[in-house]
Amino acid sequence: MELLAFIGSAMLFTVFALTVLFILVAVSSRLAMLTLLVIPILAVIILPGTSVAFLSYRHFLFADGLVPVNNFHILLIIWSTLMGIIISTEFLTWYLKTGKRKRAGEQRATQSPDIKKLLNAGVLRLRAVLAKRN
């Protein structure tokens, strides 16, 4: 019975985590973060008895009963994991975008008209050398 309860809880949490990850990848990280918070909150508000009973269901007792593990703890772990993923994704996205934008801006600022002329002259000279050889 306890194993079945654990499997059921694990399936529910897996579906929840996959949903959030799907939204993260397919839609947006902000919506994923909102989903992460809203689904459990809605469950508690709509079905308080059932939700609280589910979340407070104890699966294990570690350290001779000193550390109980119930669904609330598992939810917090999933929250922290997914939250970490979302925040990391968001941060990396921002970082990469920022770096690319900066580099692009710098290039535009440093390319003066003399250089363009020199480059064009160089290109023409290179074409002439190649024509002579042919």
């Binding site: 508000i45 609280v52 104890r58 929250w79 939250m83 925040i87 941060f91």
Partner: protein, 608 residues
């Protein structure tokens, strides 16, 4: 005429003398064994008026000089040895038989010559006709004939066949164990009245008496060893030997010359109880050895057990003392005076720790704790006296005082006797209890508040209840005020009904009662704070059982249940659960976002 009267008187006297003399045959003039003694030089044996003392002992020749005293006056001196001079007789009255002389000790037996009753009637007076016989054990006595000479009687038995002529008053002995005594020969009726006799025997009966069942350490035990001769012959040379496993017997051996039949001899033997740190049972044993006239030994023994208390003892007594009118505090009119006495019966001083556990509602006066360390001198007692104030009136009981000390590295403990009974402290005391029913309600649900005022003191009081209601509540019915008088032990219930629309843990406050007793002593008492849990959940998650328990005891604290949390629905509402989850989410988010936020700020600064 005078001569005739004298003749008649003489005749009467002769008749009486004759009958008195008729019973002399029961006694025998014999050497009566008076005891056996082992005496060293200077030691003596006492036998009524005679005293035998060993003067000198010559170990080379195994001889000794004995001195004989009569009524403490020197009478005779004898040279004795184990050979020809082993038997000495003084004036036909006292015989000293020396048995052995060795290692400076003279072993001797003492006998006295005396008429002593030996023969005891076995078959009482019986009349026999000619040809009739009687049987006494192995012996048969038969009347053969009666002639002018007397009665011809035949005695058979135990290898004896005797036929002899008996006249009135005659008696014959057979083998020192059987005697026939012819009382009267009636020639007219041709009958003989006779009786048979046998040598008697002494019989020892022992009784032991002590004056008490338990003694203090080192106390003298009044030990009496009572020897009764229930036999028919006297006992001689009584020697009482006394010993004990723990106690000290100052006279382990006592002597007594003789004990006649039906007589009692009480040996008062001084015994000292041991000094012991723990209560123990001490066994005292005594044995008496005595002899009959032939030197046959008889003995008897007995033992008794007495309880010896530890040498440290403690007594506790409690006394109620009235307070002066001006100092009535805590509603109590009396206080306790507690006396503890520690006694040391040992012959050495002892350091002891006395502890007296008081009820938590008693406060010792001017003392930090009720434990004392004392030195109790030898054979003395120390007194401890202190006052204890009761914090409320009522009945009090007291625990035993405990004394602890060390002896030879071991710790011993002794308790005082129980302090019997209950001690009543007068005064006024009012107890206020406030309940709400149910403890858990929904918004808009009516709850009943009950205030129970109990007069727990011993005086009649005038009481006034003041119980405020928070703004969150609306009074539906009843009243939250009351004023009246309560006799001792009486109680009053005040009920009112409230309703609230607020949710959460709501404080109903504490009820307060101010009172004044008959003696114009005033005081006040308050109940515990009462709490009502109001939840807007549509379904009640509190089990019936838990609600009933809380209602019964009127506790205002949170429900605590030890049941397995895996099997029950926790008692939190949707608001609390959602709030907790949101706060958890935000906390986690903040923690996880710290490092990216720092990195964000740093990178932004670098690119600027």
């Amino acid at each position: 005429m005078a001569a005739r009267k004298l003749a008649i008187l003489t005749f009467i006297l002769l008749i009486f003398t004759s009958s008195a003399h008729a019973y002399d045959f029961r006694d025998e003039n014999i050497w009566i064994f008076k005891g056996m003694y082992e005496l060293g030089p200077g030691e003596r044996a006492e036998l009524n008026e005679f005293t035998v003392k060993v003067h000198t002992v010559d170990t080379d020749s195994n001889s000794a000089t004995l001195l004989l005293y009569i009524n403490r006056d020197f009478a005779e001196s004898y040279y004795v040895d184990t050979g020809a001079n082993s038997e000495q007789i003084y004036n036909g009255e006292l015989k000293i038989d020396v048995l052995d002389i060795s290692n400076g000790i003279v072993s001797l037996e003492v006998h006295r010559q005396k008429y002593e009753r030996v023969w005891i009637t076995n078959l009482a007076k019986t009349s026999l006709g000619i040809g009739n016989s009687i049987q006494d054990g192995d012996y048969t006595v038969k009347l053969q004939d009666i002639t002018e000479e007397g009665a011809k009687i035949e005695v058979r038995g135990d290898g004896v066949t005797d036929e002899d002529i008996y006249i009135s008053g005659d008696h014959r002995e057979f083998s020192d164990e059987f005697m026939v005594h012819v009382i009267y020969v009636n020639k007219r009726t041709q009958e003989v009245s006779l009786e048979t006799l046998r040598p008697g025997k002494p019989k020892i009966k022992i009784d032991i008496v002590t004056d008490k069942g338990s003694y203090e350490s080192g106390e003298t035990i009044d030990y009496q060893f009572i020897v009764t001769n229930n036999g028919s012959l006297p006992l001689h040379g009584l020697i009482v030997s006394t010993g004990s496993d723990e106690a000290d017997v100052s006279e382990p051996e006592m002597q007594h010359s003789g004990l006649d039949p039906t007589k009692i001899k009480n040996f008062m033997i001084p015994v000292t109880a041991p000094v012991t740190p723990v209560a123990k049972t001490v066994k005292i044993e005594s044995e008496v050895t005595a002899y009959d006239y032939k030197g046959n030994p008889y003995s008897g023994s007995g033992q008794t057990e007495v309880l010896v208390e530890p040498y440290i003892s403690v007594e506790k007594s409690v006394e109620i003392i009235e307070k002066p009118d001006s100092s009535v505090q805590s509603g109590t009119e009396e206080y306790f005076r507690i006396s503890i006495s520690v006694e040391n019966t040992a012959d050495f001083p002892t350091a002891v720790t006395v502890s007296d556990v008081l009820d938590t509602s008693l406060i010792p006066y001017d003392l930090e704790n009720t434990e004392w360390t004392l030195m109790v001198e030898a054979d003395s007692a120390r007194e401890i006296e202190y006052l204890a104030k009761p914090t409320f009136p009522g009945k009090y009981t007291f625990e035993q005082a405990v004394v602890q000390w060390k002896d030879s590295g071991k710790t011993y403990t002794v308790e005082s006797g129980p302090v019997e009974g209950e001690y009543l402290i007068h005064g006024s005391r009012v107890v206020v209890e406030k309940y709400v029913s149910p403890n858990y309600a929904l918004p808009g649900e009516e709850v009943e508040v009950t205030v129970n005022i109990i007069n727990a003191g011993s005086r009649k009081v005038e009481a006034k209840l003041s119980d405020s209601i928070s703004r969150q509540f609306t009074m539906v019915s009843g009243s939250n005020t009351w004023e009246g008088s309560l006799d001792a032990g009486e109680s009053e219930d005040i009920n009112y009904v409230l309703v609230t629309e607020a949710t959460g843990k709501l404080d109903l406050g504490a009820a307060r009662v101010d009172y004044t007793d008959e003696q114009d002593q005033s005081g006040s008492s308050s109940s515990e704070k009462t709490v009502l849990y109001v939840d807007d959940m549509t379904e009640s998650i509190a089990s019936e059982e838990v609600a009933e328990t809380v209602q019964e005891y009127g506790e205002d604290t949170e429900i605590y249940n030890d049941a397995d949390t895996a099997d029950i629905i926790p008692e939190v509402g949707r608001v609390e659960a959602a709030g907790f989850m949101v706060s958890s989410f935000i906390t986690l988010f903040c923690i996880l976002a710290i490092i990216p936020a720092i990195a964000y700020l740093y990178i932004n600064r670098v690119y600027k």
